[in-house]
């Protein structure tokens, strides 16, 4: 009896302490990156999500890339480029580049890649539909003209995500193979992808920019923030993307870790309908709501200081960003006066709709906004829901008071305002993500801005358009830019400088140890 008992107790203890030795995870010339979202596909046209695109950017090259902490233009598979006229962009292609399978890079790969991005069912790159043709110039296979259907000043910005695939191997392999085993020209070669588990890459020693410094990289998605943090503390990952706000202090206080931050390009803002008859169609009411919200307190308390207050819905990288636009100050007394002037001394009923699983602390921000509005006498309430349900309210033009976050790849106010400010128009393809706001004057300015050919003049027009929308019309109530938060192992001496687009561009990272 007692012997059986003892044995069992021993078995329990033994199994609990199965291994006593410390687990060693050190590695040299290798980098393990822990990311907050798993890549969805290995097909560069398959997803626009950062979590997928950034790895595509390591395996594939675009014609024109953006490099460094400021996101400057740099030659990619094109050595130089110029805008010939309203519709035509000329690219001089790089000679002597080979795909990872040895195939030479040619202009036909460019033509094929752009064509391939147009398939609406398989591709999220709907911007590629603006491309009319890709042709060589005077029969020279190293000079091509890409023509767009309409004048698109931001085209060269979008080219950054137009990754060039190998025509031959894309056609000769089955679609399933193409999606799972990418072949690019990029700085890193694909090794293995176990979905939901890891992505393994190795340095492309023949890369046209020269071999990248880090030789082997493993990307491990860890969705649960606590686990991701634990994996960093135990050294199972070297670089962590997406430090959760509640673990900020734990990271800062840990002597073995280094925290790295920078503002992201994603702005968070509130949309307000101006449909006839609604109180919010009155600019004074819109302004009152703007001034009632204590954004600095939201950043300080809810976001623990990790956000940048903004006065417009685009970031400084966007052409048309206007540094002269100022926020309306937080002033609840003035807000109450404005409501009286507008004829709503007793406020009105309004419901703010927002997602609860999309932006950093989205629901808590919504709760705070509702509370501030109540303080000035507006009978506000919150309706927070999963993003899967939420998106339909915006694209279906149903919600009258909504929260949105936007990061533009176009780098242009013209494109952002076409999607977000221009009144929704199914036929013209405007206002797809604008729920229920519309102003004829702004519509006109947006459409006109696209036709201006002179670069300086166009920039000036966009800045002015931006100012009118933000200051005179209060088209949106801007809140903040989200912060990018990373942490690394101190003793690994990883030289990592975050990029504006949130991508982890491995060739830009070095290990100094």
């Amino acid at each position: 009896m007692s012997r059986t008992k003892l044995l069992l107790v021993a078995a329990v203890l033994a199994s609990l302490m199965l291994s006593l030795g410390t687990v060693a995870y050190t590695s040299n010339g290798e980098l393990v990156v822990g990311v907050d979202a798993a890549p969805e596909t290995m097909d560069p046209r398959g997803s626009l999500a950062d979590s997928t695109m950034m790895w595509m950017g390591n395996i594939f090259d675009p014609l024109v890339q953006k490099v460094g902490p400021e996101g400057e233009f740099a030659p990619g598979l094109a050595t130089s480029w110029e805008r010939i006229d309203q519709l035509t962009w000329r690219f001089h292609l790089r000679k002597g580049v080979r795909f990872h399978n040895g195939n030479p890079f040619t202009w036909e790969d460019v033509q094929f890649s752009f064509e391939r991005m147009k398939d609406p069912k398989r591709s999220e790159h709907s911007w590629a539909n603006s491309v009319d043709s890709v042709e060589t110039v005077n029969g020279d296979p190293w000079v091509i003209d890409i023509t767009t259907k309409e004048p698109t000043a931001s085209f060269v910005h979008q080219v950054k995500i137009g990754f060039i695939v190998d025509k031959e191997s894309t056609l000769s392999r089955t679609p399933e193979e193409v999606i799972q085993y990418p072949i690019g020209t990029g700085a890193y070669k694909f090794v293995e992808w176990i979905k939901g588990s890891y992505l393994e890459l190795e340095a492309n020693e023949d890369y046209w920019e020269g071999p990248p410094p880090i030789k082997n990289v493993t990307v491990k998605p860890i969705i649960e923030p606590s686990t991701r943090f634990a994996a960093l503390v135990t050294g199972e990952i070297d670089l962590m993307m997406g430090v959760p706000l509640q673990m900020l202090e734990a990271v800062q206080n840990n002597p073995k870790l280094v925290m790295i931050t920078r503002p992201s390009r994603r702005a968070i803002f509130l949309g307000l309908s101006n449909e006839q008859g609604l109180p919010t169609s009155n600019v004074k009411v819109r302004k009152a709501m703007y001034m009632a919200i204590n954004e600095e307190e939201i950043i300080e308390v809810i976001l623990r200081g990790q956000a940048t207050i903004v006065s417009q819905i685009v970031d400084p990288e966007t052409s048309g960003y206007n540094a002269d636009i100022e926020r309306f100050p937080y002033d609840q007394e003035r807000a109450k006066e404005l409501l009286i002037e507008a004829g709503y001394p007793d406020g009105f009923k309004i419901t703010l709709q927002c997602p609860n699983d999309r932006y950093v602390k989205d629901e808590q921000i919504g709760q705070a906004v509702v509370k501030y509005l109540q303080e000035v006498g507006i009978d506000a309430e919150l309706d927070a829901m999963p993003k899967a349900n939420y998106w339909g309210l915006i694209s279906g033009h149903e919600t009258k008071f909504w929260m949105l976050g936007w990061m533009n790849e176009s780098h242009s106010v013209a494109q952002v305002f076409s999607d977000l400010v221009h009144s929704p128009s199914y036929e013209k393809g405007y206002g797809g993500w604008n729920s229920t706001y519309g102003d004829p004057e702004l519509d006109k300015l947006i459409e006109e801005s696209k036709l201006i050919q002179d670069r300086e003049e166009s920039l000036e027009a966009l800045r002015e358009l931006n100012r009118i929308a933000m200051e005179e019309k209060v088209a949106y109530i801007p809140l903040h830019l989200q912060q990018q938060l990373y942490a690394t192992q101190k003793d690994k001496s990883i030289n990592f400088i975050p990029r504006p687009d949130r991508w982890i561009f491995l060739k830009e990272i070095a290990i100094e140890g």
Partner: protein
């Protein structure tokens, strides 16, 4: 017996048809997959085009009939997220979940039954009280809390076990196994304990109740009176007769662990099919959701059927006609 199995399989097909119908019925209310598929700069026209291509413009019952027709041809469709065949996506990730759930159930069974027997033999001892209190904790603590506590203690503080993932795996045919390497087993321990904790606690309590009851029976008293060694009385006479309800619970539990290891897989970033299921729900990836639910209906049916058959082995008095 054979007729019984056939009848159960037919019932199973009925259940699969019903749950998949429910899926399609509910999909109307969970958000639009097209929005996440086309990219944010797509025009409403392009969205419409994709909706038509996927057949999502049709009423839900038509979509359902199309699904049934294709499923009968063995085609469960392609994932909206990455355009890969749904069936391959699920099968690829099944081994991770099956290994995790089986190992969890193994731990739960071994520890559950052993502790249950010990406790029922000496109900007043300190150890028994400790185990019973522990089993209450195991039943009432939420899985994610158990998981995080285990990570904190065994990975962060003791640095003895890895935090997440499957570690080194070996590929045998389509099956990727973590059971053949020491590193793989080490990765399995924490998630398996987390997943198995609840079942273990249930088994302890059930075994204790059943064994205690059987120990009061006349034939046990007779066995003791004959002077049989305690080993034989307990294991051969008492335990065997207490096991039928326990086997039922293990069977049902295994099905649940395979189908609903979602939380454990999330905490430990276990690359199993429950995580795939969860991310498909977030991404409105309808084909994956339906296929997963239908597949799980069959897994649970299969396990229940096995348990039924196993009864007849444990107790020949039970018969199906």
């Amino acid at each position: 017996m054979f007729a019984y199995i056939i009848r159960r399989v037919i019932q199973g097909i009925g259940v699969a048809l019903l749950v998949s119908f429910l899926c399609f019925f509910l999909f109307q209310y969970v958000g639009d997959p097209v929005l996440t598929m086309v990219g944010k700069n797509a025009t409403p026209k392009q969205m419409e085009e994709v909706r038509k291509l996927l057949g999502l413009d049709k009423p839900y019952y038509i979509q359902y009939l199309v699904f049934v027709k294709n499923a009968l041809h063995g085609d469960f469709g392609k994932s909206y997220t990455n355009d890969l065949p749904v069936f391959t996506l699920i099968i690829e990730r099944a081994p991770a979940t099956i290994e995790l759930a089986t190992f969890a159930m193994f731990i739960a069974t071994v520890f559950g039954i052993s502790l249950g027997v010990i406790v029922s033999l000496n109900r007043a001892s300190v150890l028994s009280r400790f185990v019973m209190a522990g089993s209450l904790l195991g039943i009432s603590l939420p899985t994610f809390l158990i998981g995080l506590l285990l990570i904190l203690v065994f990975s962060v503080i003791l640095q003895a076990l890895p935090v997440f993932g499957r570690g080194d795996v070996t590929q045998i045919g389509f099956w990727r196994t973590g059971l053949l390497t020491f590193n793989g087993i080490k990765h399995l321990i924490l998630p398996a304990f987390t997943l198995g904790m609840y079942e273990m606690a249930l088994i302890v309590r059930l075994t204790r109740a059943e064994v205690s009851e059987v120990l009061e029976e006349d034939y046990i008293r007779t066995a003791w009176a004959k002077g049989l060694p305690s080993r034989i009385v307990i294991f051969k006479h008492a335990l065997r007769n207490s096991l039928i309800p326990v086997v039922t619970m293990i069977g049902l539990g295994l099905g649940e662990l395979i189908a609903f290891a979602t939380i454990t897989e999330t905490i430990f970033q276990w690359p199993g099919m429950c995580r795939l299921f969860l991310s498909s729900i977030y991404g409105n990836d309808y084909p994956v959701i339906v296929a997963y639910i239908v597949l799980m209906a069959f897994v649970i049916l299969f396990i229940n059927l096995t348990v039924d058959v196993f009864y007849t082995v444990l107790n020949p008095k039970i018969q199906y006609d």
